[in-house]
Amino acid sequence: MTPILDVKGLTKTYRSNGRVVQALDDVSFSLAEGETLAIVGPSGSGKSTLSRAITRLVGVDSGAVQFAGQDWLALTSADLRRQRRQMQMVFQDPLEALNPRASVFSAISDPIRIHRLAPRSAWRAEVSALLDRVQLPTSLLDRAVHEVSGGQRQRVALARALACRPRLIVLDEAVSALDVSLRARIIDLLIDLQRQEKLSYLFVSHDLGVVKAMAHRTAVMETGRIVEIGPTLSVIDTPQSDMANALIAAVPRLHRGPSQ
C-alpha cells in the first residue's frame, strides 16, 4: 500500500550569527494512511523545521516529498494553494493560532469558502457540524476568536483543519499547551477522527507520554537527523539511541516516593 507521505533526503541549512546551522540533515521517512508517526526530540533537534518544511511554510535545500501521489515540493502558486488543503496543521500556541479579530464561524468556514467545498447556504450547517465533532457548543459560532478560551481555541483550530477535509494533519505540539484533563479528551477525539476518516497524523512533540498514547510509530530526532525510528512501544521499551534513552529518562513519572 503506497504511503500517503514519503519523505526522502530532506536537507536544510541556514546561517545564524555567522554560524551554519544544519536544521535538517538527510531526513527520510514515510507515513501510511490512517497512521500516526510521532517526531520527538529536544528543542533544536529540527522537528519544528521538519513540520514547517513538509507543510511548505519554509523551503528546503534538497530532498523530495511525495504526498497523495504528487511531487509535493514541485507544486507552486495556484496549484499549491489548491492541493495544500489536503495537508493541514494545528499549531502549538492556541492563543496565536487563529486571527484574534475573526469570528469562530469565519475561522472554520474559511477553507470551505476558499475551496468551494459546499454551497454558501450550507456553510452554517457545516460549521455547526464541525463544532459538534470537536465537542464545542454551537453557541460559539458568532463569538470573536479572542473571546474564546485557549482550550476552546485549539479545538476551533482543529475544526478549521478538518473543514479542509484533509488526508494528513501535522500536529505541532498541538496538545502541549492544554490542561491535563483536556489533553486526554483531545487525544481521544483525534484517535476517533483518525479511525473514522482514515486520517494520518504527523505528531511533533516532546511529551513522550502523549506520544505513547497516540502514535503508532515514533522517529527520534537529534541535530537535524533521525537517529531512531520504529514502532512506538519498541522505541520506548527498548530504545536504541542515546537520545531516545535521554528523552525517556527525562519524562516525569508519578513517583510513589518522596524526593531525596
Partner: protein, 261 residues
C-alpha cells in the same frame, strides 16, 4: 521551629474582575520543605505565588493574612525570597550583562561592592553549572539558550541567600530534557543552600518527583494538601483523583488500537 510562611484565609480578586482568583486559602510552609502547588490553568496557583511575592497589580482586593513567622516582619524580595518565572525569554533584562544581573541582588541586599558582587555572581554561575562562567559574566542573555537563561535566572534569584525560592512554572516552557535538568538543579540547590522551595506547576508527576508535600488548587480554592506520597497513591478529593486518572505518562497504556497500521 516556627513556620516560614503562613497564609490565613487568603482571598484575592483582581481589579475589575467579579470572580475571585483566590478563595479562602489557608496553608503554611515549614522551613526546609519543598511544597508543590499544582493545578490547571485558572486554578489560581500562579496568583498564589505572586500574592506571596507581593506582585499583584495595584487595585487588587486582598483579604486574609500573609505572615512570615520566622522573620517576624514582612518578607523582603531578594533577601528573604527569590523568584523564578516561567518564560526564559523575559526573566532577564536583555540589555544588561549577566554579571550585573546576577550580582545585583547581592550588591543591593548584602551591601557588597561591585567587585565583591561579581565574585558572588561568578560563584553562583558555577553553582548553576553555566559553562565558562568567567566569560558568561560579560555576556548578554540572548547569547544563551532557554535552559541556560533559566539557570541564570535561578542564580540571580538566590544571589542574596534568600530562605525561600519560589519557582512559578519555572520549567513549563522548556523541553523535556532541559526541564529534567532544571528540576534536578533546583532540587540540589535547595538542599545544598538549605532553602525552602515553593514549586508551582501544572505537571503532577513533576510535582511528585520534586516535592515533600503537594497542594492541589482548583478554581481559586485549595482542594487538598498533603504528603506527596499519600496524595498520589490515595488522594482524598475527587478532583485530585480526576487529575491523576487523566494524567498521561509513560506508565499509561496506549490509547490507539495497535496493529492498525
Amino acid at each position: 521551629m516556627s513556620e516560614l510562611l503562613r497564609l490565613t484565609n487568603l482571598s484575592l480578586t483582581y481589579p475589575r474582575q467579579t470572580a475571585p482568583a483566590l478563595v479562602d486559602i489557608t496553608l503554611s510552609l515549614v522551613p526546609g520543605e519543598k511544597l508543590a502547588i499544582i493545578g490547571e490553568s485558572g486554578s489560581g496557583k500562579s496568583t498564589l505565588a505572586r500574592a506571596i511575592a507581593d506582585l499583584q497589580p495595584s487595585g487588587t482586593q486582598v483579604s486574609g493574612e500573609i505572615s512570615w513567622p520566622a522573620f517576624g516582619r514582612p518578607a523582603q524580595p531578594g533577601v528573604d525570597y527569590g523568584m523564578v518565572f516561567q518564560d526564559p525569554g523575559s526573566n532577564l533584562n536583555p540589555v544588561l550583562r549577566i554579571g550585573e544581573q546576577v550580582g545585583e541582588a547581592a550588591q543591593r541586599h548584602l551591601g557588597l561592592t561591585w567587585r565583591q558582587a561579581e565574585d558572588v555572581a561568578l560563584d553562583l554561575l558555577k553553582k548553576v553549572q553555566i559553562p565558562q562562567p568567567e566569560a558568561a559574566l560579560r555576556a548578554y542573555p540572548h547569547q544563551f539558550s532557554g535552559g541556560q537563561r533559566q539557570r541564570i535566572a535561578i542564580a540571580a534569584a538566590i544571589a542574596a541567600n534568600p530562605r525561600l525560592l519560589i519557582a512559578d512554572e519555572a520549567t513549563s516552557a522548556l523541553d523535556t530534557l532541559v526541564q529534567a535538568e532544571i528540576a534536578r538543579l533546583i532540587q540540589s540547590l535547595v538542599t545544598s543552600e538549605k532553602m525552602t522551595l515553593l514549586f508551582i506547576t501544572h505537571d503532577i508527576a513533576l510535582a511528585s518527583q520534586l516535592a515533600d508535600r503537594i497542594a492541589v488548587m482548583h478554581q481559586g480554592k485549595l482542594v487538598e494538601i498533603g504528603p506527596a506520597q499519600t496524595l498520589i497513591t490515595a488522594p482524598a478529593s475527587a478532583y485530585t483523583r480526576h487529575l491523576l486518572d487523566t494524567y498521561i505518562d509513560l506508565d499509561a497504556a496506549p490509547r490507539i488500537a495497535l496493529g492498525a497500521s
